[in-house]
Amino acid sequence: MNVNSGNSGNGERDGKGPSGLPVPGTLPTTSELRRRATSFFDREMGPAETIEFQARLAEDPRALREFEATRRAIEHLKTGRPAPDLTGSILDEVERRRRLLGAHRHARRRRVSSVMTTVGAVALLAAVFFGVDAILPQLGGAPVAKHRGAPPGPLVAVPTAVDGESAAPNDALALQLRPPVDASRDLRWDISGSPMLVGAPTDIGRGGLPLETTSWAPLGTSGVWPSLFPNASVTRPPAAAMLIEPASPAKPAADDKASDKASDKASDKAKDKSESGPKPETKPDTKAKSPR
């Protein structure tokens, strides 16, 4: 007999008074009994209310049947299955994992300690190195200037030095860098003395340098130039001059005088010979080669 659907909140129709307690003589509906069953199963019902609820429930067979079915299911739910004894296997596994964790932690600690040892050794070596470096000058070891440069002078001296350098004549600087060259010397000597310009291509050795050969000839007297320029007139240098070695930079003055005298004599002789008649081409002395 469910005539009271949607009656929640209405105390009289729920069979409850304004205070929430059931009014004597009124029958609670099935839905109300369900609601109170819910609060019974939720363990929210006090002992006195539980006794009253069970008394009301007995008057509604349908609600009673539902209530009993639910209560029975919950009772079965409470009775669990006896669990197998897992104590031994659990403790063994715990022990095994602890050993593994311990070994892992030990290995990690060992790895960290080895890294720390390495870092410490490097730091110690560095400290020893810098310590020795700092102590050595006091013991008469390596000079400080070699490592750390010259001690700085006063800054006032810098502009003075710069001015001095800028005031120096450029000619003097040039003379320092390059020794003076005798302008009176015939440049052709240098050309004829250069072995790179004469000789057959087959005479060129490794690295483009000429091989030692006995068929040296002055430029313009043999080789390709006469065939290329048959009508060209070439002034031959004095034969005696070919024997003169180039002046050594160590004794410029003495060599210049000697070469002047030699050249004078050689030119005189050459004049005499040229006047007497044509002569076959003279082979230059190997000494005429410029020293390398």
């Binding site: 939720d42 079915a69 029975r72 919950i74 739910l77 669990g80 659990i90 715990v94």
Partner: protein, 194 residues
Amino acid sequence: MDRIEERRLIKRAAKGDHAAAEIFVRTYQHSVYNYILRMCGRPDIAEDVVQEAFVRALTGLDRFDPRFRFSTWLFVIARRVYLNWIQKHRPDSNSELVEARGGPAKLPETAMTRSDATGCIRDSLQAALMGLPPDQREVLILFHQQEWSIRVIAQHLDLPEGTVKSHLHRGRKRLRLLLEPYRTRIEDEAEVLG
């Protein structure tokens, strides 16, 4: 086991005391096993999950928060292990769920002994439980089997208390409906059990 005794045992077990660890295992293995067994319905899985949960709890005691009870912490771990297992074995789990929802369990035709009757009721109940949504099933198990309060369940499952109550109400109603086909047999078995 009160809280002071529990903390003392936890300190001992964390230092590697076998006896203290054994007390924890013997005290809680039955409840954790039945919780997981009701959740999954398979004793072999329940054993594995319980063992793994205990091992994790006992090897991680240095991370235990003393504001909570050890049992609560253990159930949280067991639940995580079980959920991980579900994630790993989802297809198997689903097929078993379909099987479980297939209908009433076949009852033996011979005369039932007391243990048979208990087994039949248990099977019927387990089949009905497996027909519930997981959240309703878990709330029902924790509330009625483990007798946890609604507040503790709400904390454990990280749900509002009203939601827990709602799950409880709906779960009970659905469980009763699912058990309806078994009702007469369960009543008969209840008579056998006396």
